[in-house]
Symmetry: C2
Subunit: 318 residues, 2 copies
């Protein structure tokens, strides 16, 4: 794809991701206490650890690096790591609840039995609830008193509050939960492209967009760059879903690690059912171009990792 | 009950509560958007509005007034109202999820069909999820830019972050959700008094304690007063559950507005099953005395409403 934004090569992105993934996995494992009461910690860990591509955390960290522009700041880096994990916890809880019998009733996720199959429905419900609470707990660490240790990493109150604000909005009725309610109500209905876009903007897009914005909130941006990053986040949020719909018909369950062909089987409206496979693929490319243009418009010189992540979202095979 | 803490009379408390309840109901109705997608807003409103004694919001507001000590501050009052509503949203979501078939499978709550009976299980699940997110959204309002309006009520970032921190901890695996996991695992088991106290401290106590602390966070306290308020909150949190267990065997379903005798029917351990009715009643009185002593120790001159709320928690009939 031709663009005048600097983009990491796939090999460079792999190297970058591998390093960041280590930090994220380690932090998630540290923060989800295995000793949480009555098996709850085990269910929460099962839902989150050792799985997923961690796209949302990677977007948080790449956006943080884009706005940091090479200036090191341990406190803001720590805030970004917490934000990365918090977004992933929200994503993971939504999958746990979404898989439950009263929702999608799915038994396979990331190649493993779903949480309610493994731990029972009640524990799955509670694990999801507790993961959502933990996300906000991660974003609001108590500041250390200056006397307690030599090295301080007190995340400014303003950053904590802003991260909570972005995540709460993206998770709630004006975001993910609202999108799932539309999804639930739309089974068997013929949505038009506008309605389908609105549903996916809320259901999947809001949290992806929030990931980018939360990374940007761990740093200093101009209002202009902030708005460009929002355009970027919105475009890749939508692109992600279009590609998801494409993969649902073109990939198999083993590759996906979840049940393929599920949307058609459940009579759910998708971009493929609406516009056909070819036009859906063109639409994904168009959204990628919009995303890259937004990055170029931002004027951020260090946005090359975000750009590479956007390409990967559209070109992914799983 | 003899005490040297000044306490509002029941009539004074009624007057105080009636005024505060109006503000809380109005705010909840304003903040739970009826137009949230696909009926989700209606399910959320059904779960929250026109019901409940609003004990937690009242604790938030009374604690705020105790630390304010008569000094008016519109911004901190606004923060306390948001905190009061946020705590109630967390409480309401926990009831919605707790009533679901995979948990307690209850059909009656506050004299009305439970949310999953009225709206279906999937919508109940989503409504609970969205209520939790909304709680954190309420705590983190975007600050107005100085130019946008004459009257500003920008809640300081430090207050926002602290409120989120208190609520997230109280709702999560180290609080309410953890307590529910223990509750779930303990059906049919013989818990001793220590284990029962631990379960209830997490399941019910943590959020009641957090209500008091969130009110206190909307103001300026000494570390000493803060710790005394925590002791107060812990004592009434426990007292609330002891009285709940007493009422489960002494009151009828119509008075309670929920199914009475449920704990015994479900073979759940309670303070009454553990220590007998008479000793449970004595224990509730002892906890009330501890709560009032904590208030006296705090040195807060305006804690009379908190004191009256504590008495009401123990002397309530529903």
């Amino acid at each position: 794809m031709s663009t005048d934004v600097v983009v990491l090569t796939p090999a460079e992105l792999d190297l970058w991701s591998d390093q960041r993934l280590l930090s994220v996995e380690e932090a998630l494992s540290l923060w989800i206490n295995p000793d949480a009461p009555a098996g709850l910690g085990q269910a929460m860990r099962y839902a989150v650890l050792d799985g997923g591509k961690r796209l949302r955390p990677m977007l948080v960290l790449a956006a943080r690096e884009a706005v940091a522009n090479g200036v090191k700041d341990d406190v803001l880096d720590a805030a970004a790591l917490r934000a990365a994990c918090a977004v992933e916890l929200i994503h993971a809880y939504s999958l746990v609840h979404d898989d439950m019998p009263c929702m999608d009733n799915d038994v396979l996720r990331r190649g493993k039995p779903t949480v309610h199959v493994q731990f029972g429905e009640a524990q799955a419900l509670l694990a999801g609830d507790a993961l959502q609470a933990l996300a906000f707990e991660l974003l609001t660490p108590e500041n250390q008193s200056p006397s307690s240790s030599g090295v301080l990493a007190n995340i400014p109150d303003g950053v904590q509050a802003r991260l909570c604000r972005l995540l709460a909005k993206a998770a709630g009725f004006n975001g993910m939960a609202g999108g799932q309610a539309i999804d639930l109500a739309s089974v068997g209905l013929a949505l038009d492209e506008h309605q389908l876009r609105e549903m996916h903007h809320l259901k999947t897009g809001a949290l992806l967009e929030a990931s980018v914005m939360m990374g940007a909130a761990c740093g200093h941006t101009t209002d202009h760059a902030w708005e460009c990053l929002r355009r970027f986040g919105r475009a890749i949020g939508l692109a992600f879903q279009v590609v998801d719909d494409i993969l649902d018909v073109t990939a198999d369950s083993v590759t996906l690690g979840k049940t393929a062909g599920k949307d058609a089987a459940n009579d759910k409206p998708t971009y493929v059912s609406l516009m056909g496979l070819h036009r859906a693929q063109e639409y994904a490319e168009q959204l990628l171009a919009e995303a890259l243009k937004a990055l170029r418009d931002s004027g951020l010189a260090s946005a090359y990792t975000l750009a590479a992540l956007a390409q990967r979202v559209v070109n992914r095979k799983t």
